[in-house]
Each structure stands twice: as structure tokens, then as C-alpha cells.
């Protein structure tokens, strides 16, 4: 087991020697800057796309809300054409007369 460990340790050293730091190609830096720029453009376009989506969602929401609420408002006008007291008086108009009639008998 120890012999194997020693051989493995020696192998690591040999591997280090067998794989020296590679020479850097002449295109390394231009390609790197190209990738940096591409990422920057991509990020910007993502934000732009997000902003577009937000604007479109806002417009759509506004349209839906107006479509839903505007007819309701019209109905409300019809529904609330009289006050609560008027509606109550109309419902119990006979009772009112009876009460008055009873007063007259006295």
C-alpha cells in the first residue's frame, strides 16, 4: 500500500513536469474582448427585452381593466339611479298610506 502511495506521489510530480503551462495563442486577448462585448450586448438586449415586456404587459392590463370596468360603471349608474330612501319608499308605499289612514281615524 505504501509502495503504491509512493508511486502515485511520483506520478503526480511526473504529471506536473509532463504538462507545462501552454503558450498563449495570439488570438487569446482579441477573442476574450469579443466575448466580453458579446456578453455586454446580450445583457443590454435582455434588459431591453424585459422593459418591452413590462410595457406590453402594462398596456394589456390597462386594456383588460378598461374592458372589464367601463361596462360595470355604466350598469352602476342605472342601478344607483335613485337613493336608498327612494327605493324604500317605493317598496313600502302602501304601509305609508295605512299609517296615515290610521291617524285619520283617530
Amino acid at each position: 500500500m505504501d509502495r503504491m502511495k509512493d508511486r502515485l506521489d511520483a506520478l503526480w510530480v511526473e504529471y506536473r513536469e509532463a504538462t507545462p503551462d501552454p503558450e498563449v495563442g495570439p488570438n487569446f486577448m482579441p477573442q476574450l474582448w469579443h466575448k466580453i462585448e458579446a456578453r455586454r450586448v446580450e445583457t443590454t438586449s435582455v434588459f431591453r427585452r424585459l422593459a418591452k415586456i413590462c410595457v406590453m404587459a402594462t398596456v394589456a392590463l390597462a386594456l383588460v381593466m378598461s374592458a372589464v370596468l367601463i361596462p360595470h360603471n355604466n350598469n352602476d349608474e342605472v342601478f344607483y339611479s335613485g337613493t336608498y330612501v327612494d327605493a324604500l319608499a317605493a317598496e313600502h308605499s302602501n304601509d305609508y298610506v295605512d299609517v296615515l289612514g290610521a291617524a285619520d281615524l283617530r
Binding site: 502511495k5 508511486r7 506520478l11 504529471y15 503551462d21 495563442g25 487569446f28 476574450l32 466575448k35 466580453i36
Partner: protein
């Protein structure tokens, strides 16, 4: 440190020419580390560019210039790890997956006139790549950083953000696993 703190501070504040100088100072060392971490020379520059790309867009998160090197190594480890995972998923037929005889035949077919020393180096690289291919990506990277790159436990602590004891345990287990793989391979190595 291969560059002074002031240059890193300038790069951090958005100075592109300072960033250029930092990359030029570190690229050879980082490419060497990547070459030994991934074992595929043809992809080293791609992974190296990914490291520096991540560095460019994360420099503003660096707390101080003093922790720059562990930070750069961490980015290197992460990029190498991502690459190795992608490779494993692709199940590509690799030279290190082929038998030695197949490799020799491929070499002969390529008509390469390599000298004895180059053949010996290639065999060592293939042996180690084969061994490292038999353990997990995490173990591979940790062992390479410790045994091949020669990083100290203190340096590894800063890269992995774990304490020394946890690192020792992980290293011990990784060594055991690679030793087991080496023992299984020993008849081939000896023969």
C-alpha cells in the same frame, strides 16, 4: 501576487486597460492550471477565456484586492468543473478512453514523429487523465490543485471557503479513491 493591488483596484473600478494587464499577467498560469485540470489541450483557451470573462463581470464583487488570487482560482475551479460536467454529459469518445494500443495506432496514423521523451510524457498524461477520469469532478479538481498545482491547505481553504479539517477529510477520501483506481490499473502500468 503577479500584479500589484493598485492595478487590481483599477481593474475593479472599470479600467479596461488595467484589466488587460491583469489578464496578461495571469493567463499563462491559469491556462496551465486549466490544462492540468481538464486534460484536454484543445479546449484550454476556451475555458481560460470563460474564466477571465467571469472575472470581468464579477470583479466588482471582490471585497479587497488581497483576496484576488483565491478569487481567480475559485473562478478557474468553477469553470473547469462546469466544463468537466458538460463533457461527462456528452459521452464523447476521448483518446484517454481508448486502449493504449488504439492510441499508438492513432498516433502512427497521424504520422507524428515524436521522440522518446514526448512519448513518455504523453503516456504519463494519459495515465493520470485516465486515473482522474475514474473519480468525481470534485475529487479530480481538489487532487489536481493539491498534488499537481502544489497549493497549500491554507490556499485551498480560501478557494473552497471550508476549514482545514473538512479539507483534510475530503482530500483523504479523494486520495483513497484515486489510489484504489491506481491499484486496479497497476497491472497495466507495470506491464
Amino acid at each position: 501576487m503577479l500584479v500589484d493591488f493598485e492595478l487590481i483596484e483599477r481593474a475593479r473600478s472599470g479600467d479596461d486597460s488595467a484589466f488587460n494587464q491583469v489578464v496578461q499577467a495571469y493567463r499563462k498560469r491559469i491556462l496551465g492550471t486549466i490544462a492540468r485540470l481538464i486534460g484536454r489541450p484543445e479546449d484550454v483557451e476556451d475555458v481560460g477565456q470563460e474564466v477571465f470573462l467571469r472575472l470581468y463581470y464579477s470583479l466588482d464583487q471582490l471585497r479587497t484586492a488581497e483576496v484576488f488570487e483565491p478569487w481567480l482560482y475559485r473562478l478557474t475551479v468553477n469553470a473547469a468543473y462546469d466544463y468537466l460536467r458538460r463533457q461527462r454529459r456528452r459521452h464523447e469518445s476521448r483518446m484517454s478512453d481508448l486502449s493504449e494500443q488504439q492510441v499508438m495506432m492513432a498516433d502512427a496514423a497521424a504520422g507524428g514523429k515524436r521522440n522518446v521523451e514526448e512519448v513518455r510524457r504523453t503516456k504519463i498524461r494519459e495515465t493520470v487523465d485516465d486515473l482522474l477520469g475514474k473519480i468525481s469532478e470534485e475529487d479530480r479538481i481538489l487532487l489536481t490543485l493539491k498534488e499537481v498545482e502544489g497549493l497549500s491547505l491554507k490556499e485551498l481553504e480560501k478557494i473552497y471557503h471550508v476549514n482545514e479539517n473538512a479539507l483534510k477529510v475530503r482530500l483523504f477520501r479523494a486520495r483513497q479513491r484515486v489510489l484504489k483506481a491506481y491499484e486496479a490499473k497497476e497491472p497495466e502500468v507495470g506491464g
